[in-house]
């Protein structure tokens, strides 16, 4: 169901983009943009001096199709942005738009990435959480464009009534994330930067795929933030992450499309080679290693229990830097792949797109 929706959205986006003569959106299937117009070469296009239309420059008004399939007309280049979702906020920073943000989601102070790259964001007014959106507070900020998670779709009609343009993003898997990057790039006139971001992602991904080719895939049990007995099934973004990292999801036969509850018996029956905890899990690697009900599980016997590092972002969720999560996991599952690949990519990514030096542990969560 999710996949079908994703496909339809991707189709709708591609159609609408070709229709209005804008550059074709990042296809959800092809891995890399065409090298003919290398986006990294021209990160800051100058709109004034181009005699013929530069595909990287948006002429307003522009119509974009958001990830709920809505056509949104943006009259002029948005100068005041509100983001109600940490993934879109992080994305806007990567697109170099942090100065245009006037409001962000609640609990911004808890995101390391803001502290490190754009600390001024933390003091911006909060427009609420994914549960409770502060409509009036948002309107008071007089934004030109509001970016919301698809979860908050109930808010959108009210925003429309107030005459505020709103775009819903739904980066629940890799294809949707790429699509969200393209949509925001177009809506905010940062197409080149958006393409650079996608190019980084795709280059790293193809390099990773090449490096891991032919290696045997160990089984991985990925436990959720809320509990050890809750895991990622094959329909989830995290399943792609495991596979990109050269692993096999132990819970591949689960039919849930969200975090699924399982029993200890189930874990023992799967007997995964690795148990990986989500980045924001409140239970610890130690508690899993000491769990007497799992002493017969291969991962616990071999001490192969790790937690996603959370020094900068939760790399196990579809954040713009998600590829770094796959690379970290690859370095855990395949020691021969090496942690240096991952660390180099982390350094490059945050310097290029966020302008700070990321410091991460060699193998955070590693067990001694």
């Amino acid at each position: 169901m999710k996949k079908l929706t994703a496909l339809l959205l991707a189709l709708a986006l591609t159609l609408s983009l070709t229709a209005c003569g804008a550059p074709a959106a990042q296809s959800t299937q092809t891995p890399a943009p065409t090298p003919a117009s290398d986006p990294t070469a021209a990160p800051t296009p100058e709109p004034t001096k181009a005699p013929e239309p530069d595909p990287d420059v948006i002429t307003y008004p522009v119509t974009v199709t958001d990830q709920l399939g809505r056509d949104v007309v943006i009259e002029a280049q948005p100068e005041r942005l509100v983001s109600g979702y940490y993934i879109s906020t992080s994305l806007l920073i990567a697109l170099g738009l942090e100065d245009k943000l006037v409001g962000v989601e609640a609990k911004a102070a808890s995101r390391n990435i803001y502290q490190l790259s754009a600390p001024e964001i933390i003091d911006l007014p909060s427009v609420g959480t994914a549960k409770e959106f502060d409509l009036e507070g948002c309107a008071a900020l007089e934004p030109d464009l509001v970016i919301l998670p698809a979860k908050l779709k109930d808010v959108i009609p009210s925003l429309e009534e107030l005459g505020i343009a709103a775009i819903a993003v739904n980066p629940e898997d890799e294809a949707l994330l790429e699509e969200a990057v393209a949509i925001l790039g177009e809506a905010t006139n940062t197409v080149a930067q958006a393409q650079a971001l996608l190019a980084f992602h795709n280059e790293q991904l193809s390099a990773l795929t090449k490096d891991l080719a032919g290696l045997e895939a160990p089984t991985v049990y990925l436990a959720s933030n809320s509990a050890l007995l809750s895991c990622a099934g094959p329909e989830m973004y995290q399943n792609d992450l495991i596979e990109q990292a050269g692993g096999a999801n132990a819970a591949a036969d689960i039919t849930d499309d969200y975090w699924a509850d399982v029993s200890y018996e189930q874990i023992l029956a799967w007997d995964p080679d690795y148990i990986i905890l989500a980045a924001d899990a409140e239970y610890t690697v130690e508690s899993v290693l000491e769990d007497e009900n799992l002493q017969d599980c291969a991962a616990v016997k071999n001490g192969s229990v790790f937690q996603f590092p959370n020094d900068v972002e939760a790399w196990d969720s579809p954040v713009p830097s998600a590829i770094l999560g796959s690379m970290w996991l690859a370095s855990i599952l395949h020691p021969e792949y090496g942690a240096s690949n991952w660390q180099d990519a982390v350094t490059e990514y945050y310097q290029t797109f966020y302008g700070f030096d990321a410091v991460v542990g060699a193998a955070a969560g590693a067990e001694g």
Partner: protein
Amino acid sequence: MARPAEKRNIALCAAAGILMLAAALASLLVGKYPLSLAALLGGDEGQLRVFLTLRLPRTVMAALGGFALGAAGYVFQTVFRNPLAAPDMIGVSSGASAGAAFAILFLPATAASVTGSAFTGGLLAVGVALGLSALAPGGKNASIVLAGIAVHALAQTALMALKLAADPERQLASIEYWIMGSLNAITLGKIPFYCAVCVVALIGVFLLHRQIVLLSVEEGEARMLGVPVGRMRLLVLVLATLVVASVISVTGVISFIGLLAPHIARLLTKDNRLSTLTLSGLMGGVLLLVADILARSAATSELPVSIFTSLIGAPFLLYLILRGNGGERHAA
């Protein structure tokens, strides 16, 4: 009551008992981990460990929990002379839910802290309800029920406030799953204390079965029959609360058994005595065992057990009602 009816009731209880044993046996045999009888008898250590620390405790908890909820439901319905009375009438489930949510938000994330906090929350809510009702003049059933409703509402409000403060991805999901009730996280280490409390309180309830029936008649009459109504009611309610709280603090809220099992029992026995109390418990046990077997095997992941208690129980109850020979006999 004529003798044939009594014989029939004993036969009914025996049949329900056999059914429950069969369900328990099935529960021991069904699960995600491939246990084999040969390996178990052959002394395979890994298999034995899975059986003893996971499979057996889960079955015990389902059997005891179902029995306890059914029996406690009977007690609440009888004492309050209300066919819709359930443990939550005096706040135990909502108190336990608020307690569990509190632990998920503020206490170190261990299974023991959530269970302990839920148990405390359930008892606290009932304690407040009973305390408040004692302040009311007369100490009648009505004032207990009203105090219970007030406490229930307060506990729900606390729960809502806690949910609002919860992190939607981690804590809110945990709270919701806890409230839905499941036996998937039952292990040997978790249950001994709560099982002991439950068994002791259940024994108390069974010893007082005559007094419970007397509480269901008019208060004046009961007093004439020599029952110290106020104190007896308090004792019975505290025991029934302990029974319920000790179960749901381990399993999460399991809906419907407490309401359903006594009705099924009453429609079968057509009286309101020890046999009905026993049969309420046995029907509850069967319901929860079967529901849990389905919860762990119907899908590839674990499902909330409450879905199945209602799904199996409700049609059976309807069948008994439509069969037409069940009367409104909840009041003795």
